[in-house]
Symmetry: C2
Subunit: 213 residues, 2 copies
Protein backbone atom coordinates (compact mmCIF):
# COMPACT_ATOMS: atom_id res chain seq x y z
CA UNK A 1 0.00 0.00 0.00
CA UNK A 2 1.36 3.38 -1.04
CA UNK A 3 1.01 6.30 1.37
CA UNK A 4 -1.49 9.06 0.74
CA UNK A 5 0.01 11.53 -1.70
CA UNK A 6 0.04 15.26 -2.17
CA UNK A 7 -1.10 15.58 -5.77
CA UNK A 8 -1.11 18.67 -7.98
CA UNK A 9 -3.40 18.36 -11.00
CA UNK A 10 -2.56 20.60 -13.94
CA UNK A 11 -5.72 21.09 -15.93
CA UNK A 12 -9.15 21.15 -14.32
CA UNK A 13 -11.05 19.84 -17.32
CA UNK A 14 -12.71 16.47 -17.80
CA UNK A 15 -9.57 14.43 -17.16
CA UNK A 16 -8.14 16.41 -14.27
CA UNK A 17 -11.55 16.93 -12.67
CA UNK A 18 -12.36 13.22 -12.75
CA UNK A 19 -8.98 12.20 -11.36
CA UNK A 20 -9.15 14.84 -8.64
CA UNK A 21 -12.60 13.74 -7.53
CA UNK A 22 -11.62 10.06 -7.37
CA UNK A 23 -8.25 10.60 -5.73
CA UNK A 24 -9.68 12.98 -3.12
CA UNK A 25 -12.28 10.34 -2.27
CA UNK A 26 -9.40 7.91 -1.62
CA UNK A 27 -7.83 10.28 0.88
CA UNK A 28 -5.13 11.87 -1.26
CA UNK A 29 -4.50 15.58 -0.84
CA UNK A 30 -5.51 17.14 -4.18
CA UNK A 31 -4.69 20.64 -5.38
CA UNK A 32 -5.88 21.89 -8.76
CA UNK A 33 -3.07 23.87 -10.34
CA UNK A 34 -4.36 26.66 -12.50
CA UNK A 35 -3.18 30.04 -13.75
CA UNK A 36 -6.17 31.61 -12.03
CA UNK A 37 -6.92 29.79 -8.75
CA UNK A 38 -9.47 32.37 -7.65
CA UNK A 39 -11.67 32.17 -10.74
CA UNK A 40 -15.35 31.33 -10.46
CA UNK A 41 -14.85 28.15 -12.51
CA UNK A 42 -12.27 26.91 -10.04
CA UNK A 43 -14.42 27.92 -7.08
CA UNK A 44 -17.27 25.87 -8.54
CA UNK A 45 -14.98 22.89 -8.98
CA UNK A 46 -13.78 23.06 -5.39
CA UNK A 47 -17.36 23.24 -4.13
CA UNK A 48 -18.23 20.02 -5.95
CA UNK A 49 -15.19 18.07 -4.81
CA UNK A 50 -14.81 18.05 -1.06
CA UNK A 51 -11.39 18.55 0.43
CA UNK A 52 -9.59 19.88 -2.62
CA UNK A 53 -7.78 23.19 -2.96
CA UNK A 54 -6.47 25.36 -5.79
CA UNK A 55 -3.19 27.15 -6.33
CA UNK A 56 -1.00 28.47 -9.13
CA UNK A 57 0.96 25.91 -11.08
CA UNK A 58 4.17 26.94 -9.36
CA UNK A 59 2.74 26.82 -5.84
CA UNK A 60 0.91 23.57 -6.38
CA UNK A 61 3.87 21.82 -7.96
CA UNK A 62 6.29 23.02 -5.28
CA UNK A 63 4.38 21.35 -2.48
CA UNK A 64 3.31 18.20 -4.35
CA UNK A 65 4.77 14.69 -4.43
CA UNK A 66 2.94 13.93 -7.64
CA UNK A 67 2.11 16.29 -10.50
CA UNK A 68 -0.50 15.06 -12.99
CA UNK A 69 -0.50 16.68 -16.43
CA UNK A 70 -4.09 16.83 -17.70
CA UNK A 71 -4.04 19.74 -20.13
CA UNK A 72 -4.53 19.69 -23.92
CA UNK A 73 -1.35 18.90 -25.84
CA UNK A 74 -0.99 22.43 -27.14
CA UNK A 75 -0.81 23.69 -23.55
CA UNK A 76 1.56 21.08 -22.16
CA UNK A 77 4.92 22.77 -22.68
CA UNK A 78 3.78 26.01 -21.07
CA UNK A 79 2.13 24.13 -18.22
CA UNK A 80 5.32 22.20 -17.49
CA UNK A 81 7.51 25.25 -17.66
CA UNK A 82 5.18 27.31 -15.45
CA UNK A 83 5.75 24.83 -12.62
CA UNK A 84 9.31 25.95 -12.14
CA UNK A 85 11.56 22.95 -11.54
CA UNK A 86 10.02 19.49 -11.37
CA UNK A 87 13.23 17.62 -10.55
CA UNK A 88 12.53 14.70 -8.25
CA UNK A 89 8.76 14.97 -8.64
CA UNK A 90 6.62 12.16 -9.96
CA UNK A 91 5.14 13.62 -13.14
CA UNK A 92 2.17 11.71 -14.52
CA UNK A 93 1.64 12.38 -18.20
CA UNK A 94 -2.03 11.76 -19.00
CA UNK A 95 -1.92 13.70 -22.25
CA UNK A 96 -2.22 12.63 -25.87
CA UNK A 97 -0.75 14.69 -28.70
CA UNK A 98 -4.03 14.87 -30.58
CA UNK A 99 -4.66 16.76 -33.75
CA UNK A 100 -7.32 19.40 -33.14
CA UNK A 101 -9.77 17.55 -35.41
CA UNK A 102 -9.02 14.26 -33.58
CA UNK A 103 -7.89 12.72 -36.86
CA UNK A 104 -4.67 11.39 -35.35
CA UNK A 105 -1.57 12.13 -33.33
CA UNK A 106 0.46 15.19 -34.26
CA UNK A 107 3.73 13.70 -33.12
CA UNK A 108 5.06 10.19 -32.92
CA UNK A 109 3.16 8.51 -35.71
CA UNK A 110 3.82 9.33 -39.31
CA UNK A 111 2.91 6.32 -41.43
CA UNK A 112 2.52 2.56 -41.26
CA UNK A 113 3.71 -0.57 -42.96
CA UNK A 114 0.21 -1.07 -44.32
CA UNK A 115 0.15 2.32 -46.00
CA UNK A 116 3.57 1.73 -47.54
CA UNK A 117 2.39 -1.64 -48.81
CA UNK A 118 -0.68 -0.02 -50.33
CA UNK A 119 1.68 2.24 -52.24
CA UNK A 120 3.64 -0.73 -53.58
CA UNK A 121 0.59 -2.87 -54.42
CA UNK A 122 -1.30 -0.46 -56.62
CA UNK A 123 -4.99 -1.26 -56.82
CA UNK A 124 -4.92 -3.98 -54.19
CA UNK A 125 -7.53 -3.87 -51.43
CA UNK A 126 -5.18 -3.80 -48.47
CA UNK A 127 -6.50 -4.88 -45.07
CA UNK A 128 -4.32 -4.82 -41.96
CA UNK A 129 -4.92 -7.89 -39.81
CA UNK A 130 -3.35 -10.76 -37.87
CA UNK A 131 -0.52 -8.55 -36.62
CA UNK A 132 -1.50 -7.91 -32.99
CA UNK A 133 -0.94 -11.35 -31.45
CA UNK A 134 1.77 -13.96 -31.84
CA UNK A 135 1.29 -16.72 -34.37
CA UNK A 136 1.46 -19.31 -31.57
CA UNK A 137 -1.87 -17.91 -30.40
CA UNK A 138 -3.60 -18.29 -33.76
CA UNK A 139 -6.29 -20.91 -33.21
CA UNK A 140 -5.47 -20.70 -29.52
CA UNK A 141 -6.68 -17.25 -28.52
CA UNK A 142 -9.25 -18.21 -25.91
CA UNK A 143 -8.77 -16.76 -22.44
CA UNK A 144 -11.35 -18.35 -20.21
CA UNK A 145 -14.70 -17.64 -21.81
CA UNK A 146 -13.30 -14.86 -24.02
CA UNK A 147 -11.63 -14.75 -27.39
CA UNK A 148 -8.82 -12.27 -27.88
CA UNK A 149 -9.64 -9.69 -30.53
CA UNK A 150 -8.38 -9.89 -34.07
CA UNK A 151 -8.29 -6.22 -35.01
CA UNK A 152 -8.43 -5.28 -38.68
CA UNK A 153 -8.68 -2.10 -40.70
CA UNK A 154 -8.92 -1.15 -44.34
CA UNK A 155 -10.69 1.05 -46.84
CA UNK A 156 -12.66 -1.52 -48.87
CA UNK A 157 -15.83 -2.78 -47.15
CA UNK A 158 -16.10 -5.97 -49.23
CA UNK A 159 -12.49 -6.90 -48.56
CA UNK A 160 -13.03 -6.27 -44.87
CA UNK A 161 -16.05 -8.58 -44.84
CA UNK A 162 -13.82 -11.37 -46.17
CA UNK A 163 -11.11 -10.66 -43.62
CA UNK A 164 -13.67 -10.59 -40.84
CA UNK A 165 -14.55 -14.18 -41.71
CA UNK A 166 -10.88 -15.16 -41.94
CA UNK A 167 -10.29 -13.75 -38.46
CA UNK A 168 -13.21 -15.75 -37.11
CA UNK A 169 -11.80 -18.80 -38.92
CA UNK A 170 -8.73 -18.73 -36.65
CA UNK A 171 -11.03 -18.44 -33.62
CA UNK A 172 -10.36 -14.81 -32.79
CA UNK A 173 -12.98 -12.11 -32.26
CA UNK A 174 -13.10 -9.89 -35.37
CA UNK A 175 -13.01 -6.19 -34.46
CA UNK A 176 -13.18 -3.61 -37.25
CA UNK A 177 -11.18 -0.55 -36.24
CA UNK A 178 -11.79 1.60 -39.28
CA UNK A 179 -9.74 2.84 -42.23
CA UNK A 180 -6.34 1.59 -43.36
CA UNK A 181 -4.58 4.58 -41.85
CA UNK A 182 -5.46 3.12 -38.47
CA UNK A 183 -2.72 0.60 -39.13
CA UNK A 184 -0.69 3.41 -37.54
CA UNK A 185 -2.47 2.43 -34.34
CA UNK A 186 -2.49 -1.37 -34.79
CA UNK A 187 1.23 -1.63 -35.49
CA UNK A 188 2.20 0.03 -32.20
CA UNK A 189 -0.35 -2.24 -30.51
CA UNK A 190 1.49 -5.20 -32.01
CA UNK A 191 4.77 -3.76 -30.79
CA UNK A 192 3.29 -3.61 -27.29
CA UNK A 193 2.39 -7.32 -27.49
CA UNK A 194 5.90 -8.13 -28.70
CA UNK A 195 7.63 -5.93 -26.14
CA UNK A 196 5.80 -7.64 -23.29
CA UNK A 197 6.54 -11.07 -24.74
CA UNK A 198 10.16 -10.62 -25.72
CA UNK A 199 11.78 -7.62 -24.07
CA UNK A 200 9.88 -8.00 -20.80
CA UNK A 201 9.95 -11.81 -20.90
CA UNK A 202 6.31 -12.28 -20.02
CA UNK A 203 5.77 -15.15 -22.44
CA UNK A 204 3.21 -15.34 -25.22
CA UNK A 205 0.00 -16.14 -23.36
CA UNK A 206 -1.56 -12.75 -23.71
CA UNK A 207 -3.81 -10.90 -26.12
CA UNK A 208 -5.77 -7.69 -26.36
CA UNK A 209 -9.49 -7.22 -26.01
CA UNK A 210 -11.69 -4.21 -26.49
CA UNK A 211 -14.19 -4.45 -23.65
CA UNK A 212 -17.65 -3.06 -24.40
CA UNK A 213 -20.87 -2.67 -22.45
CA UNK B 1 -21.09 -16.31 -44.27
CA UNK B 2 -18.32 -15.58 -46.73
CA UNK B 3 -17.59 -18.10 -49.47
CA UNK B 4 -14.53 -20.30 -49.32
CA UNK B 5 -11.57 -18.37 -50.63
CA UNK B 6 -8.52 -19.09 -52.73
CA UNK B 7 -5.75 -17.77 -50.52
CA UNK B 8 -2.07 -17.25 -51.37
CA UNK B 9 0.17 -16.98 -48.32
CA UNK B 10 3.45 -15.15 -48.84
CA UNK B 11 5.86 -16.39 -46.20
CA UNK B 12 5.75 -19.91 -44.86
CA UNK B 13 7.14 -19.10 -41.43
CA UNK B 14 5.36 -19.10 -38.07
CA UNK B 15 2.68 -16.64 -39.08
CA UNK B 16 1.99 -17.92 -42.58
CA UNK B 17 2.22 -21.54 -41.51
CA UNK B 18 -0.26 -21.08 -38.67
CA UNK B 19 -2.75 -19.18 -40.83
CA UNK B 20 -2.44 -21.71 -43.65
CA UNK B 21 -3.09 -24.63 -41.33
CA UNK B 22 -6.14 -23.02 -39.73
CA UNK B 23 -7.63 -21.70 -42.95
CA UNK B 24 -7.14 -25.02 -44.78
CA UNK B 25 -8.96 -26.73 -41.90
CA UNK B 26 -11.87 -24.35 -42.52
CA UNK B 27 -12.09 -25.39 -46.16
CA UNK B 28 -10.28 -22.51 -47.82
CA UNK B 29 -7.95 -23.34 -50.71
CA UNK B 30 -4.46 -22.43 -49.46
CA UNK B 31 -1.33 -22.03 -51.58
CA UNK B 32 2.01 -21.17 -50.00
CA UNK B 33 3.74 -18.66 -52.24
CA UNK B 34 7.50 -19.03 -52.14
CA UNK B 35 10.44 -18.31 -54.38
CA UNK B 36 11.30 -22.00 -54.28
CA UNK B 37 8.11 -24.08 -54.22
CA UNK B 38 9.96 -27.36 -54.75
CA UNK B 39 12.31 -26.99 -51.78
CA UNK B 40 12.46 -29.64 -49.09
CA UNK B 41 11.27 -27.16 -46.46
CA UNK B 42 8.16 -26.43 -48.48
CA UNK B 43 7.58 -30.13 -49.16
CA UNK B 44 7.71 -30.76 -45.42
CA UNK B 45 5.20 -28.00 -44.79
CA UNK B 46 2.78 -29.38 -47.37
CA UNK B 47 3.05 -32.85 -45.83
CA UNK B 48 2.03 -31.50 -42.43
CA UNK B 49 -0.92 -29.41 -43.66
CA UNK B 50 -3.37 -31.49 -45.68
CA UNK B 51 -4.81 -30.01 -48.83
CA UNK B 52 -2.37 -27.14 -49.32
CA UNK B 53 -0.17 -26.51 -52.33
CA UNK B 54 2.86 -24.39 -53.17
CA UNK B 55 3.68 -22.12 -56.09
CA UNK B 56 5.85 -19.15 -56.97
CA UNK B 57 4.68 -15.79 -55.67
CA UNK B 58 3.54 -14.77 -59.13
CA UNK B 59 1.62 -17.98 -59.85
CA UNK B 60 0.02 -18.11 -56.42
CA UNK B 61 -1.05 -14.47 -56.46
CA UNK B 62 -2.44 -14.67 -59.98
CA UNK B 63 -4.93 -17.36 -59.06
CA UNK B 64 -5.82 -16.12 -55.57
CA UNK B 65 -8.73 -14.04 -54.29
CA UNK B 66 -6.83 -13.19 -51.13
CA UNK B 67 -3.07 -12.67 -50.73
CA UNK B 68 -1.76 -12.73 -47.15
CA UNK B 69 1.58 -11.02 -46.52
CA UNK B 70 3.39 -12.92 -43.77
CA UNK B 71 7.06 -12.17 -44.43
CA UNK B 72 9.50 -10.16 -42.31
CA UNK B 73 9.30 -6.43 -42.89
CA UNK B 74 12.64 -6.33 -44.70
CA UNK B 75 11.27 -8.77 -47.27
CA UNK B 76 7.88 -7.16 -47.81
CA UNK B 77 8.60 -4.84 -50.70
CA UNK B 78 10.28 -7.55 -52.77
CA UNK B 79 7.53 -10.03 -51.92
CA UNK B 80 4.84 -7.59 -53.06
CA UNK B 81 6.63 -6.72 -56.26
CA UNK B 82 7.37 -10.35 -57.11
CA UNK B 83 3.63 -11.03 -57.27
CA UNK B 84 3.23 -9.00 -60.44
CA UNK B 85 0.07 -6.92 -60.30
CA UNK B 86 -2.20 -7.20 -57.27
CA UNK B 87 -4.89 -4.84 -58.51
CA UNK B 88 -8.31 -5.96 -57.35
CA UNK B 89 -6.91 -8.57 -54.95
CA UNK B 90 -7.61 -8.56 -51.25
CA UNK B 91 -4.17 -8.08 -49.72
CA UNK B 92 -3.96 -8.88 -46.02
CA UNK B 93 -1.03 -7.17 -44.35
CA UNK B 94 -0.05 -9.20 -41.30
CA UNK B 95 3.39 -7.65 -41.02
CA UNK B 96 4.93 -5.34 -38.46
CA UNK B 97 7.86 -3.07 -39.31
CA UNK B 98 10.01 -4.37 -36.48
CA UNK B 99 13.57 -3.37 -35.75
CA UNK B 100 15.79 -6.42 -36.02
CA UNK B 101 16.46 -6.32 -32.25
CA UNK B 102 12.70 -6.00 -31.55
CA UNK B 103 13.32 -2.72 -29.77
CA UNK B 104 10.60 -0.92 -31.68
CA UNK B 105 9.09 -0.11 -35.04
CA UNK B 106 11.42 1.13 -37.77
CA UNK B 107 8.76 3.25 -39.43
CA UNK B 108 5.71 5.06 -38.18
CA UNK B 109 6.73 5.83 -34.63
CA UNK B 110 9.41 8.33 -33.85
CA UNK B 111 8.74 9.78 -30.41
CA UNK B 112 5.96 10.43 -27.91
CA UNK B 113 4.41 13.22 -25.92
CA UNK B 114 5.80 11.63 -22.77
CA UNK B 115 9.36 11.69 -24.04
CA UNK B 116 9.03 15.32 -25.09
CA UNK B 117 7.64 16.16 -21.66
CA UNK B 118 10.57 14.40 -20.00
CA UNK B 119 12.83 16.70 -22.00
CA UNK B 120 10.99 19.77 -20.76
CA UNK B 121 10.72 18.61 -17.12
CA UNK B 122 14.37 17.93 -16.38
CA UNK B 123 14.83 15.55 -13.48
CA UNK B 124 11.15 14.71 -13.09
CA UNK B 125 10.17 11.06 -12.84
CA UNK B 126 7.75 10.94 -15.75
CA UNK B 127 5.16 8.17 -15.86
CA UNK B 128 2.70 7.85 -18.73
CA UNK B 129 -0.75 6.90 -17.47
CA UNK B 130 -4.49 7.64 -17.60
CA UNK B 131 -4.39 8.35 -21.33
CA UNK B 132 -5.93 5.21 -22.84
CA UNK B 133 -9.55 5.61 -21.79
CA UNK B 134 -11.93 8.56 -21.68
CA UNK B 135 -12.26 10.54 -18.46
CA UNK B 136 -15.96 9.63 -18.29
CA UNK B 137 -14.81 6.07 -17.63
CA UNK B 138 -12.55 6.97 -14.72
CA UNK B 139 -14.14 5.35 -11.66
CA UNK B 140 -16.52 3.62 -14.06
CA UNK B 141 -14.29 1.18 -15.91
CA UNK B 142 -15.97 -2.08 -14.95
CA UNK B 143 -17.20 -4.23 -17.78
CA UNK B 144 -19.13 -7.11 -16.24
CA UNK B 145 -16.73 -8.78 -13.84
CA UNK B 146 -13.66 -7.15 -15.38
CA UNK B 147 -11.90 -3.85 -14.90
CA UNK B 148 -10.47 -2.17 -17.98
CA UNK B 149 -6.70 -1.83 -17.81
CA UNK B 150 -4.95 1.35 -16.79
CA UNK B 151 -1.68 1.00 -18.67
CA UNK B 152 1.34 2.91 -17.43
CA UNK B 153 5.01 3.10 -18.28
CA UNK B 154 8.05 4.90 -16.99
CA UNK B 155 11.69 4.55 -16.07
CA UNK B 156 11.59 5.05 -12.27
CA UNK B 157 10.38 2.01 -10.31
CA UNK B 158 9.40 3.96 -7.18
CA UNK B 159 7.39 6.47 -9.20
CA UNK B 160 5.68 3.61 -11.01
CA UNK B 161 4.71 2.01 -7.68
CA UNK B 162 2.93 5.22 -6.73
CA UNK B 163 1.16 5.45 -10.08
CA UNK B 164 0.12 1.81 -9.83
CA UNK B 165 -1.77 2.69 -6.64
CA UNK B 166 -3.27 5.81 -8.22
CA UNK B 167 -4.57 3.70 -11.10
CA UNK B 168 -6.14 1.27 -8.68
CA UNK B 169 -7.60 4.24 -6.82
CA UNK B 170 -9.76 5.09 -9.87
CA UNK B 171 -10.85 1.45 -10.04
CA UNK B 172 -8.89 0.43 -13.10
CA UNK B 173 -6.57 -2.55 -13.37
CA UNK B 174 -2.95 -1.33 -13.21
CA UNK B 175 -0.82 -2.82 -16.00
CA UNK B 176 2.88 -1.93 -16.16
CA UNK B 177 3.99 -1.92 -19.78
CA UNK B 178 7.63 -1.07 -19.29
CA UNK B 179 9.88 1.91 -19.94
CA UNK B 180 8.81 5.46 -20.77
CA UNK B 181 9.62 5.00 -24.44
CA UNK B 182 6.63 2.66 -24.57
CA UNK B 183 4.50 5.79 -24.43
CA UNK B 184 5.07 5.52 -28.20
CA UNK B 185 2.78 2.52 -27.98
CA UNK B 186 0.27 3.81 -25.42
CA UNK B 187 -0.43 7.07 -27.24
CA UNK B 188 -1.52 5.29 -30.44
CA UNK B 189 -3.62 2.98 -28.24
CA UNK B 190 -5.31 6.07 -26.85
CA UNK B 191 -5.84 7.34 -30.37
CA UNK B 192 -7.56 4.05 -31.20
CA UNK B 193 -9.92 4.52 -28.24
CA UNK B 194 -10.65 8.08 -29.37
CA UNK B 195 -11.06 7.16 -33.03
CA UNK B 196 -13.66 4.52 -32.17
CA UNK B 197 -15.46 6.91 -29.82
CA UNK B 198 -15.44 10.05 -31.92
CA UNK B 199 -14.67 9.41 -35.56
CA UNK B 200 -16.51 6.08 -35.69
CA UNK B 201 -19.28 7.24 -33.33
CA UNK B 202 -19.26 4.14 -31.17
CA UNK B 203 -19.71 6.01 -27.90
CA UNK B 204 -17.46 5.91 -24.88
CA UNK B 205 -18.40 2.62 -23.23
CA UNK B 206 -15.27 0.74 -24.20
CA UNK B 207 -11.85 0.08 -22.77
CA UNK B 208 -8.84 -2.10 -23.42
CA UNK B 209 -7.77 -5.18 -21.54
CA UNK B 210 -4.69 -7.32 -21.80
CA UNK B 211 -6.01 -10.86 -21.44
CA UNK B 212 -3.64 -13.33 -19.78
CA UNK B 213 -3.77 -17.00 -18.91
Amino acid sequence: MVAKMKIAILGAGNVGGALGRLWAAKGHSVTFATPNPKSEKVANLLRTIAGTTAATNREAAASADVVALCVPWTAVQEAVQSCGGLAGKILIDATNPLASDLSGLVIGTTTSAAEQIAGWAQGAKVVKAFNTIGAMDFGNARFGSQRADGFYCGDDPAAKAVVKQLVDDIDMEPVDVGPLRNARLLEPLAMLWIDLAVNQRQGTDHGFKLLRR
